[in-house]
Subunit: 344 residues, 2 copies
DNA sequence: CGCGTTGCTGTAAACGTTTACCGTGTTTCG
DNA sequence: CGAAACACGGTAAACGTTTACAGCAACGCG
């Protein structure tokens, strides 16, 4: 674990200059004899190029950062799963930042781009504040934002379309004959919470259904809170026949509570989740869920970043990934349902 | 996005030498007046330290790599979730490597330590080959291996104890009165497959139950394959009353197949999974599962690495994380069960 | 008043590469 | 046969820091 060999060591051993060593190692034209000597020396010494020194000179680190709120969140993980191989294939390493849902941490990540330890950044901000915009305008490396960013912000941008997503879910429920469709949402001061709430109202309108605020309940984006919200909602509106849940965890909470209340899913109440996480397929009954294309967004972001790293300056691009509905048992047709259960 | 300011720029602006700038920025004793000028200049110029140049000089990158087979695997993710904050708190960035279950990729990661782009590495190898051992012996940076490594290998090592884990599960099933306990395993040429198979046999012995190879079926560590293996097993041994599954995905497949076959869980057949992933809590009935302490292993690995980075040479350490059984509905007591279902 | 401290600052070397530039020896061609 | 072209390879500078060392002014003390 001592001092590894450097090109200087090799140069001495091979009896040539460090410039020749460098040229050989970089495949620049060299006399065969020189090449042979250098390669032999490198081999014997077990030489490995020092990435730090290379980066200093070349101003390229071959690293890209991915910053999101929480390593544990399946939606971010779906992105990560796509981003990783794309970057790897292009010869980039991935530096992972978890900002713990703290805005100051996100700003810090943007600031640290100035340290030049990465060539670019893919970020999923919780919400985009003034501070974000200021940092983005002066960012010292290319940035791709997953999420919505105001018109004119000088970064590539990848968006989901939860509006259409909610719409797809409600259309589906409507087509199944459901008319009393509740919404179980997360906090309205979050970007997804606000968007999904508005989309719900709008989609109802498009279907010619009345908006009834009795049918809306706000909890949080977790299973227990979601379940609690559903319980409240069930008490208030006993005749509801479908639930649109703002994410899959809430939907799992809904399944728990419905089961405990003796409501059959989907016969009595159909349930739709959102994000189409792994959990949706694992649950019983399996959960119909609106995919907002996390994987596709991750891939698109990685490709935008690579493109910019390769081709330098160009107009910022906007990519919007369309959602799609994954139909499973929780909204399945008659017969595809779970019977009354006696859960522990 | 042009050339950022360097300490030279600051030095000129402040009318001092670059050495003074460096000293001020590193908090070394300086005259107040100098400090003021330097900080003012740095502030005006929006200076940020160049991490690459720093690393070159200091031989420290403040980066640590984590290498595992597959970003999508929940067990690795549980580790990652613990590793990330520990490293972050200590001022290290995390570089993520996914080796796609290819041994050559793992070797490559070990080799690339010579590039010195990280200060250390945490690796979860699929299996430890001769090539691994050779690379580990000559690794150019501290390495922590999660998994088992032969006595005497010069690396810190964190192990799970799946032997005890299987034992816990079988004890539990036995205590519930189950006597015909099947094993649904993954391939025997994998480390976990082999270990779990042996542990099953041993645990049966300890309980005074006969080992019946009829009760063992090999599939793969995925849901569909697991389900298929269970179907075969059910055909062959219709009277089995419990299933030990080598991971949670297999167990989910088991639930699918049992439900389709009209067997009630847990009344007719109790099911235990392994790894205690998020999916275990999401499924219905929720899945009893043996936790092998992925999170704890991740944390232990991160702490071992940090300790070594701080204190340099010391004897390699071995940490074994004890497993524990998480009891949920799939082995619940009578009444805590799912009734006969008519799944889609 | 001279000398050893003390406190700060500047010069320069070093970290390990890449690369512009120049010198040397060989080839080519008029 | 001499000049021009060429192919290689060496010297040295640069990337942006940190830091050993030396210089210098002010100061205390005998």
């Amino acid at each position: 674990m001592g001092q590894g060999p450097t090109i200087t060591t090799i140069a001495q051993r091979a009896g040539v200059s460090i410039a020749s060593v460098s040229r050989v190692l970089n495949g620049l034209p060299t006399r065969q004899e020189t090449e042979r000597k250098v390669l032999a020396a490198a081999e014997e010494l077990g030489y490995v190029r020092n990435a730090v020194a290379r980066s200093l000179k070349s101003r390229r680190t071959h690293q890209v950062a991915f910053a999101m709120a929480d390593v544990g969140n399946p939606a971010y993980l779906a992105m990560l799963r796509e981003i990783q191989p794309v970057l790897k294939a292009a010869g980039y390493r991935l530096v992972l930042h978890s900002t713990d849902a703290v805005v100051a941490d996100e700003i810090e990540v943007l600031h640290s781009l100035g340290e030049r330890y990465v060539d670019g950044l893919i970020m999923v901000p919780l919400r985009v504040t003034e501070a974000h915009l200021a940092m983005l305008a002066s960012a010292r490396a290319p940035v791709v934002i997953i999420g919505s960013v105001p018109e004119g912000t000088p970064v590539d941008n990848v968006r989901a379309d939860s509006r259409t997503g909610v719409r797809l879910a409600l259309d589906h429920l409507h087509a199944l004959g459901r008319r009393r469709i509740g919404l179980v949402n997360g906090p309205l001061d979050t970007v997804p919470g606000a968007a999904r709430g508005a989309a719900y109202r709008e989609a109802l309108g498009a279907l010619g259904l009345p908006y009834d605020e009795e049918l809306v309940e706000i909890g949080d984006f977790y299973r227990a809170e979601g379940g609690r919200a559903v319980a409240t909602l069930l008490d208030r509106v006993p005749d509801l026949d479908a639930l649109m849940c703002a994410n899959d965890l809430i939907a799992l909470g809904a399944l728990d509570v419905l089961r405990a209340a003796g409501r059959r899913v989907p016969r009595d109440v159909a349930v739709v989740g959102m994000d189409d996480t792994d959990l949706a397929a694992a649950s019983w009954p399996s959960l119909s869920s609106v995919s907002l294309g996390s994987a596709e967004r991750g891939r698109a972001a990685a490709e935008l970043l690579l493109d910019r790293l390769r081709h330098g300056e160009r107009e910022p691009r906007l990519v919007t990934v369309p959602p799609h509905l994954v139909v499973r048992a929780s909204t399945g047709r008659a017969g595809a349902e779970e019977p009354r259960g006696d859960a522990p």
